[in-house]
Symmetry: C2
Subunit: 388 residues, 2 copies
């Protein structure tokens, strides 16, 4: 842990088969007006909507609704949500859904009273919230983003063809989140698998940075091994509670700031993936899986020791009689095998990317520093071409 | 993660070489009166006292002192601390020291206005705090207990020859803790090493329970490997910042509730160690190291698969061509070798235990359920005899 840091994560989590009971404990802490935020209506088909609204009624809440949150929530929708939150004088925003719905709820919570254009203020100028923040609670129905226990929010602007994330401070974290692994059982396989890789990408993008041997990296290796193990079970048996619960818990800790402590990161896979998402509207986790193998093979020569450690500690590669480079390469081969076994999208062509889009995607990719290799626009194009 | 649980840990941590700057950010949040709590005066010799009091002065605080907190804080001292806290009308208790000082500060914080005998209320009847709680902040100078980010408090009653811990709820967690690894450099080697094993025991006692393959166990394996690696460096080079900082961070996460989530535990090594401590006043971590090898060898036959997993994943034992029992035993042999390499106390005789004490220690040992084998009094005696 070579770098200085602060850590504070005040979100209260209710986890397990009876996690929704936590909602009854939390609701009395807030005022009467609740803005219920959800997506396309799957929560009505699987019964979660009925369960949640019954508890809201039991607790005497006045409920306004804001539905139709899309997988990549837009700046236009955000403006609409701010209006609704103000119109109902929301004391609490209750997000019921996956990471997109939670992300959106957080964006509305800091934007409703910001007195500015939220897209410009938070996602272009990256300012911090300075007005009233409406408390947010989450009932999670999809696993992957970690949005249930962090300050992150990703919003897409279609007119500008930009998908940008802002990580708000702890005052904008969800006050509580309800995590019932059974609520994720009805998720379509494609979405489930995309979530698995979103988790893996979160861990890897924090793991593959810096040369120190920080405790964060050891924790990351544990999370990765848990994910790899449980994902293999879950793709064959999606209603395996133990596997799905392990994955749900891993997802939370993969992106709640813990494993980044003391490290620098560049999140370049997310930067490329988000640019692909802005052009294709493809599922977030699959944009990451499609570009990851070319990306990691591209940066491996800049940190062969770390990639060899990854091969041994995460994938169980036997290093005897092999060079560091051979061990490192074998680890990435194992990772690729696992990705194919899980059924992830392995190239951007399958997500709808066509050669004429490449210029735009490269241009829309933020180039950060902090990883083993600061990518240039040419590097991004190379990686994308290898992913076609 | 088979069991249901809640998770919330609101403590704010300031970590690193400049962590004490965090104190300047925190103090303005509290009233004028601060009760400064510390131990035997080592913080005066190493300069930490001067640094802390300078910041208290800079922030305009009125400071009362409560010093002389012993390594095993007593119920008599606790009563004295409550009087002082009331006398100065403390708005904040600032603990500067190791786990004992933090434990004591938390005990005073919930006891000062409890209107009862705190030993009887919290440590015999295990009641929850129901009165005013004085906020606590910590500046850590010794690593091991995790007290800086949990609700635990262990108090010793000499008259009753009992050393008992109570884990208070999150409202009694420290509001903030300052973790500067350099503040631990001047600690005597014996105390440093005892802290290392306290950490290991915290992780192992949560790891060795239940048969599921929860994410908690994968995280625990990562923490153990980080500890084993960094402790080897720190015993040779105590001022190695990277090693000491990794250990400090591992200690916090070893006992802040995370790795117990979804699991049952019996904490039986701590139960035996605390009974040894009540009879000898020996350093906590060394009471744990002295009884651990006999304890783990005793329970290993009840969970050979888990001990074999431990051997492979934590100690890197090569399992090919060996039975599960052989692999498990080899893991414990590796653990014993590491303990001797680090320089830990390996038997209770070296802590001053004499055969005439055994009856009393066995009687003072709480027998819990939740581990692989619920110990009987006869089992405890066997383990202690093997540790003589």
């Amino acid at each position: 842990m070579l770098g200085d840091f602060t850590y504070c994560n005040p979100t209260k989590l209710y986890f397990g088969k009876n996690a929704l009971d936590g909602l009854k404990r939390e609701l009395p802490k807030y005022g009467k007006n609740v803005l219920l935020v959800y997506g396309g209506g799957s929560i009505k088909r699987n019964g979660i909507y009925d369960k949640v609204t019954a508890i809201l009624k039991e607790c005497g809440k006045t409920v306004a609704e804001d539905s139709g949150i899309m997988p990549n929530p837009t700046s236009d929708k955000l403006n609409e949500g701010c209006e609704r939150a103000r119109a109902c004088n929301a004391d609490l925003i209750l997000a019921v859904g996956g990471g997109s719905v939670c992300d959106y709820a957080k964006a509305v919570s800091v934007s409703a009273y910001c007195g500015d254009d939220p897209w410009e203020k938070f996602f272009i100028r990256f300012e911090e919230p300075d007005g009233k923040i409406i408390p947010v609670g989450c009932v999670l129905t999809m696993v992957g983003t970690g949005s249930e226990m962090n300050g992150g929010s990703v919003i897409t602007n279609h007119a500008q063809k930009l998908k940008i994330g802002h990580v708000f401070g702890e005052e904008a974290y969800p006050k509580f989140s309800v995590l019932n692994p059974e609520f994720t059982f009805t998720l379509p396989a494609y979405q489930m698998k995309a979530g698995f890789f979103d988790i893996m990408s979160h861990i890897l993008e924090q793991y593959f940075s810096d040369a120190d041997d920080s405790t964060s990296d050891y924790i990351s290796e544990g999370l990765l091994r848990s994910l790899i193990h449980s994902a293999r079970i879950a793709v064959k048996d999606p209603e395996n509670y133990e596997a799905r619960s392990n994955i749900m818990w891993t997802a939370t800790w993969a992106l709640n700031t813990l494993i980044a402590k003391g490290k620098t990161t560049d999140w370049e896979v997310h930067m490329i993936g988000q640019a692909v998402g802005a052009y294709t509207d493809a599922t977030h986790g699959m944009t990451l899986s499609a570009v990851s193998m070319p990306y990691y093979r591209f940066i491996m020569p800049y940190a062969p020791d770390k990639f060899a450690r990854y091969a041994v500690n995460v994938w169980g590669v036997n290093e005897s009689g092999k060079s560091t480079g051979e061990v490192a390469a074998e680890g990435l081969d194992e990772m690729e095998k696992w990705m194919k076994e899980i059924g992830l999208v392995m190239n951007v062509t399958d997500l709808g990317v066509t050669p004429d889009m490449l210029d735009g995607i490269v241009k829309a990719t933020f180039l950060n520093e902090g990883g083993y290799k600061a990518l240039t626009a040419v590097d991004v194009r190379t990686i994308l071409e290898q992913s076609m």
